[in-house]
Amino acid sequence: MFLPPTFLSKMEKLLPKDEIEDLKTAIDTHLRKSIRVNTLRGEIKEVKESLINQGFTLENMPWYKYGFFISNDKKLRIGNTFEHYLGKIYVQEASSMLPVIALDPKEDDFILDLAAAPGSKTTQLAMHMNNTGLIVANEPQIQRISALQENIDRSGCINYIITRNDGRKFSQFKDMFDKVLLDAPCSGEGTFQKDIKARYIWSQNKVIQDSRLQKQLIESAIIACKPGGTIIYSTCTLSPEEDEEIIDYALNKYNNIKLGKITFDGLQTSSGNIEYNGKEYNKEIKKVIKVWPHKAKIEGFFIAKIIKK
């Protein structure tokens, strides 16, 4: 198994020695496939029964009633079922469902999804909002828009606008949105488990570049959110430069924000690191959540909940 040496030496600074082997083993283990039942299109009970009848085994995620780990002995493809065709299910990684759960969208909310493609979280937001209110689903990369549009349409969502802007532009819309989701573009260390190519593309330079952009995007998110509103910052990566450091930067720059607590029943998560590589971060950062693949048995992830005062 190849893992970038620089990545491993970084992880050695974050985890106790005995956990490094566990992390390596977890990254090399087959990732459990998961789906979300889309209640805009189907009922949990009906979808579950139908998939079981077709030979699938479903295991409910303890922290999310709409999320299921799915498997089968016959190598059936969930993407080729009528449930998928009709948008009753969405193939979505378990970790990828967490930011929306933490954001807690409600009917009639006005939500900004700053980096929306390919749409797993946008469609999850729409489902929780019961197709009411409005989501501004922004995606700056034109080549990713068609996948976003297709996924949103197949999921039966109508409460959205797709915009094609640099996410930094949203700093022009001060105090506009009830909630903001920033699932930031990142170096994707959390995806090493399923995407071997990502291990070869990864570099510390990319981490630093992403970190710079993430700081600018989080500023946009904070400015665009209404006072009293919530911002979720998440990445599918584990490097503190893209995670804790971004939140530390925001806490130092804006005195009108604080961090909120996040919990997921039955999911083993860790709190954020308040020290890394000689840097000391704001103590509030203990409230953010890190999902380690060897502990949680799902993809690596980072989530912070920011409340604008």
């Binding site: 016959k74 993407g79 009709l86 979505q92 990828s96 409005l134 606008i161």
Partner: protein
Amino acid sequence: MASQSKDRRVFHSQDYQEIKEYEELNGKQKKIFIKYLSEVYGIDQTFMCEFVFLKRGKDIWITTKATKNILGFSRSLKINSIGMRAIRNAFDVPKITTNFAILLNNKITKNYYNITEKELENYTHGYDIDITDGQKYKNYLILKYNNDVFGVGVIIENKIKNQIPKGRVLKNSLTEIEDVDDD
């Protein structure tokens, strides 16, 4: 010969103006549109009043009332789309989209065809369906199996021509394609 005809259009083509930006249907246009959906597909008119309808080009889009609040500020953004495309070509030969038909599902009480299990297999894999009573149906026909709308077809003589968007067509068997939604 196709059974749909220009007299079934939603709006008169002389009312068509090139619209590059989204624009909400005015009261009169909304009434005509809701009446069209009621007459052709049996959609309850009060149900449709809950939504906002926009036009861009010759197409009609459906979205939520909350969209109205931001149509002003959104001018400074590059908009790709607003809501779901409901009808294509509303000023000529209107075509209900697969996504809108699936969204409406059991609200559709007219102009639908119940397909058999075998026909469903063929249809979702991109094939046409042979029928014997094509003259009974108007315009674009809704295809239902059990309680679900699976899509739209157009009657050409005694054939329902498949209208499923290419990306949505199922592959040959349950085991042949990768699962791809996620990021």
